[in-house]
Amino acid sequence: MLIKRPPDIKPSEITSLSLYLRRREFLKDSALAGLAIAGLGASAPITAATAEKLVNIRKSPLSTNEELTPFEAVTNYNNFYEFGTDKEDPAANSGKFKPHPWSVQVAGQCAKPGTYNLEDFIKPHALEERIYRLRCVEAWSMVIPWVGIPLADVLKRFEPTGNAKYVAFTTVMRPNEMPGQRRAVLEWPYVEGLRMDEAMHPLTILAVGLYGAVLPNQNGAPLRLVVPWKYGFKGIKSIVKIEFTENQPPTTWNISNGQEYGFYSNVNPEVDHPRWSQGKERRIGEFLKRKTLMFNGYADQVASLYTGMDLQKFY
């Protein structure tokens, strides 16, 4: 189904991230870029071919070489309750969402708090491709080629103080553009958090894209968290605030149902969700389920973060 609507933003008003990042090539490519942006303005479904490309992306040794989940599945099967609770809702209902212009507020226990526009926020860092497994708490999984920057590099720029023990994140609150926020299915806005060492871990990234292109609205545009050894809901989307805190910050699913969703929410086949087993998962596109791996297969890199902790208790 293809529903054409008039563009909500005039193409001329968009200063897109990709355009910014490729500003030196702008003259050379302006015709092409213009086309790509015109395509973004309309709410026709995004395909791998029409998504706005990012350039100068480095490969990473932290990427997996597993088979990628197709772009169509990654962008049409989403849990993003701000746009509705069905998997197809985010792709269907996020056409009006405006990820540009965007700014991120940095607050709390750090030397350089302030509000930064997204381009300045990203500018000092080189984009990397990180192909990660994503394991949803609902026992399905994907392999997604994210484009992003290590969260640690970003956080260091704001010089967290010795009191910064946790990092808290907040999603934008825009009921006008996010129809799911008009009903209190969860407590809005969505909030998430990491312990400082988790946030500083090299696997943790802030993603601005996937499949070499700008992050589609339904995947958390323009800026989202990706923590591959944790259940997907820890990867908070459309981030507008990052705060360094001394105490463990509240997290949305934990508020909604603390028995089922803990602060840590590390992928752990031994600790079942109270209502279903976490021992197996269905990789999207596959028929037979596969065994879920400890820390989603990233145990070698992250298990040491949790030595001495009872993971049945700190689920």
């Binding site: 049409n76 309750y81 279903w276």
Partner: protein, 205 residues
């Protein structure tokens, strides 16, 4: 007996299944087809169950026996969709992993109640023929009042499996309760109320 109306109702009951077959062959089930089939057949089991339960109150309200004529067929369609729902779970989702299947039935309350509802529907389907109605006599009625338990379990099954948005199962539950209330006998005090008199005299003279 198999007149146009019969075929029409039959086709309506079968239509969701035909639509599902179309989605399967046209690759229209999305990124997670097994989940989609599971939800689809589960939804239609509940839809048909509630439709079946609506027949008695509809006859009561309209005084038309036509609704009772199709109660059995609709009930059997509800059974048909629950069979699809159950076998989707057994074959496509679990792929005969008996250890996991048994563990899930025992450990996961939403599966326990769903499975119980499915089991209870089997004797109802088996005894749905005219011969069985005659053979069982008064016991048939008792056996088939199981449907109220099954409906309750089905709605609990739905309510317990959703993560946060309980709106749809609550809507199903409300319709179910309404259909039960519409079966209650009219209480005597309501029958005893004097008839309403036509309104008069409220226009300024």
């Amino acid at each position: 007996m198999r007149d146009r109306l019969w075929y029409g109702v039959f086709l309506c009951g079968l239509a969701p299944f035909l639509w599902l077959v179309f989605l399967v062959v046209s690759d229209g089930l999305g990124a997670n087809p097994i989940e989609r089939i599971t939800h689809f057949t589960g939804d239609w089991q509940l839809n048909l169950l509630l439709t079946t339960l609506a027949m008695t109150p509809l006859r009561r309200l309209t005084r038309k026996n036509v609704f009772i004529r199709f109660r059995r067929m609709l009930g059997l369609f509800a059974f048909f969709y629950v069979c699809l729902h159950f076998s989707t779970w057994l074959v496509l989702d679990q792929f005969f992993d008996w250890d996991d299947i048994v563990r899930d039935i025992a450990k996961r309350p939403f599966i326990t109640v769903g499975f119980t509802a499915f089991l209870l529907l089997i004797p109802m389907a088996v005894t749905s023929t005219k011969k069985m109605v005659q053979r069982l006599g008064p016991y048939w009625r008792k056996l088939h009042s199981c449907i109220y338990v099954i409906g309750t379990l089905g709605i609990i099954h739905y309510l317990w499996l959703v993560k946060a948005d309980k709106l749809v199962p609550i809507i199903y539950g409300s319709i179910f309760v309404l259909l039960l209330v519409l079966r209650l006998p009219v209480p005597q005090w309501l029958k005893d109320l004097p008839p309403l008199l036509p309104q008069t005299g409220n226009q300024p003279g």
